[in-house]
Symmetry: C2
Subunit: 423 residues, 2 copies
């Protein structure tokens, strides 16, 4: 973090500059240079004259040392205790839609525990015909499904309620990841136990000290909730809940219980600590709105952004970012170069999956003048991502959670980028 | 490798047993146990009484120690030199469709080189209007696309030409991976250089000592070939060609040039070492068939399999595997429990993408008797995966490459699994 943001000062009210005319749409133009003698290609290089690493150098490989900056990072002034804290995904440096487990957002309430498959148990009890305890091998006998879904912390963008404070989308929108999960539909396990007619809620808790229990309505539990073992093709990592976590597509990340220990079935919500004192929306009148489970439609330009400035000067420039909706599929993403005055439709790249990260691109020809970059996502229900100010009008400034407002990046003439707001 | 397979002895001709009636379709049955007092869940466990790892424990995480067996492995008697060899994906232990870069099949011809973005250059020359040299930053200015594709080595399954030799699908079918790539369509770079009318082939080569050059017809080069920077959301790993590799969907892995250095445009194929003395199909008459680029439709049951035996005894059993086709999408996968006498349709899980790995599942109720498991993939063109013997009738036994024959696993009553062939 830069010094000026460490104390959380705000830069709200940055004025939209009328003269911002930094870029037009590019149609195929590029800067590829006519070939001149370049010894890096015309001369035989050192790496072409010797053997590289053998195939047994790394039975399980890690990123090359040149990418050592692409890692999860925390924010010191947000971290009270590292066992109950957050570590943000470096979305400014990623592309495509999948988030590798190794650099995917972590949040723990009492640290990431080490739990073996041999020691693992899952209990289903409460209002069921037949209380059950499953070993890990029991779970492996049930039919499996695959689903790609984003997980977003309810607090993602939370620091932005008070203004543009954090320099980089890793910190402003990086409490998110997107993985391909394989596991058993929770419905099948609940059917095995037999939910009694009066069972209207489940309460899911983890095996860690915090237990981090959350209530989920039975309709959602029987719909698309998954008891997952695999993420992006391999076992869940320790920090993502090995060996078993709950996947709750479209709903706030805190409900995706890690190291899943118990599913209790009840006639009403438990109203636990994590769903009353936390993860509620403190409104302007001092009352708190509870149970805002669905993560509303949102987007952010990941490059350029404060941690990914423009290094190559003017000319063709790729703008890229992510969009997502807890309500279904992304229908369209618009991008503004002038702080929301004019909008143009971005190109969606790759698949559009329901409740999963969607990648967009816009190719422009940058003339080197300043820009105020914004993106605005629209989902299949027609919902349009709002401005931060529109959210504040309704929700005030007390809130920490559920900020899906439009993000603005001020691109300066030298290519550096700053987190600002337009007024 | 077990001792009995180290020397490459064959077990061709294992007889199909008429009495194999090991399993029927399962309809919802499970073995979930009625809950009995189990101290692992009824007593407070050690991991619930202490803090786990803090969020800054691993800025870039790796698999938990309990999964240390899920790694790439080589086969000693296949490895002449580790810098010119293969390391197989542990597909027996993976699920879903994505292959993590860390355990994805590697094959090098002179080792994995370390090449920085600063040192990287890509030359396009030959029959073009304007020869070009691109830096890495130049490439970042071009419009990007996303595509998920499987890479399969032409030699995948090659040891099976001579019979069932290797114990485990990691070794028989593990020269494969499936990743989500982001990069620039090669077409855009070729258009920038301007291909002359007489330019009918490209020749792609790498920056490593082997250069591993391959010729590709211009039609394919202008179709779906990508100059990729990202795999599964992050930068390519060193062993996968950092910073730039070619992605050639559906075509043999050797053409996916890593550390891409040059694209030459020519009026005919170069007929390089790697496309004449290697990666050709030696036919029964001693002549070699060249340019079998497309990887034909194939499938394999990944679990149970020799490295993934049945540990939990009889009852509900999940059969799972992978299917793929270089010609497009998988349409259907059939599974046989009795060595190809009877077939039943498996369930496709997750997305079916063209030229990408597709996951299938079949849920059965295993009575504990022996099975001869087979899978048979059918692609959207109607092509049906053949038996190994059907391939041998046409192609003989001289060949090493392009074996897409049906794999058989002999499941014994104790749950152990062996690689066999039915006759």
């Amino acid at each position: 973090m830069s010094d000026e943001t460490k104390n959380g000062t705000s830069r709200r009210g940055f004025l939209r500059q009328a003269a911002l005319t930094g870029a037009g749409i590019v149609a195929g133009a590029t800067t590829a240079r006519a070939s001149e003698p370049d010894p890096k290609i015309t001369e035989v290089q050192e790496w072409a004259t010797a053997f590289g690493d053998p195939v047994d150098a790394a039975p399980y490989g890690t990123p090359i040392r040149f990418e050592s900056h692409v890692v999860r990072r925390n924010v010191e002034w947000l971290t009270e205790s590292p066992v109950s804290s957050i570590n943000f995904t470096p979305i400014h440096a990623l592309e495509g839609t999948i988030t590798p487990q190794g650099c995917a957002f972590e949040r723990h309430h009492s640290g990431a525990i080490e739990l073996s498959k041999q020691d693992y148990r899952l209990m289903i009890n409460g209002l069921v015909e037949k209380p059950l305890v499953f070993t890990f091998e029991d779970l492996l006998r049930f039919p499996r499904t695959i689903n790609t879904a984003f997980l977003e912390c309810a607090a993602n963008g939370g620091m932005e309620w008070g203004g543009a404070q954090l320099e980089g989308c890793q910190f402003t929108q990086g409490m998110i990841h997107n993985m391909e999960y394989t596991g058993v539909p929770l419905r099948l396990l609940l059917e095995e136990a037999g939910v009694k007619p009066e069972g209207k809620w489940i309460y899911a808790e983890g095996a860690d000290a915090s237990s981090n229990g959350r209530s989920i309505p039975i309709e959602k539990a029987l719909d698309d909730v998954m008891v997952a073992f695999f993420a992006n093709g391999e076992a869940l990592r320790k920090e993502h809940g090995y060996p078993v976590r709950l996947v709750v597509p479209g709903w706030e990340g805190n409900m995706w219980i890690k190291w899943l220990r118990r599913i209790g079935v009840y006639d009403k919500a438990v109203e636990s600590r994590e769903e009353t004192s936390k993860y509620t929306d403190l409104m302007p009148d001092g009352r708190a709105r509870k149970w805002t489970w669905t993560m509303d439609t949102k987007s952010v330009i990941t490059s350029p952004s404060p941690q990914a400035p423009i290094r190559h000067g003017k000319g063709p420039l790729v703008l890229t970012g992510l969009a997502w909706s807890g309500n279904g599929k992304i229908k369209r993403v618009d991008v503004s170069l002038d702080g929301g005055v004019n909008w143009q439709e971005a190109r969606i790249s790759g698949d559009i999956k329901s409740k999963a990260l969607t990648r967009f691109h816009l190719d422009i020809d940058w003339d080197g003048s300043e820009m105020l970059l914004q993106s605005r996502a629209i989902d299949e229900t027609g919902y349009v991502q709002p401005t931060k100010d529109a959210l504040r009008e309704i929700r005030g400034l007390n809130n920490v959670y559920h900020n899906n407002g439009i993000q603005t990046w001020w691109v300066k003439a030298d290519g550096e980028v700053e987190n600002v707001e337009v007024a």
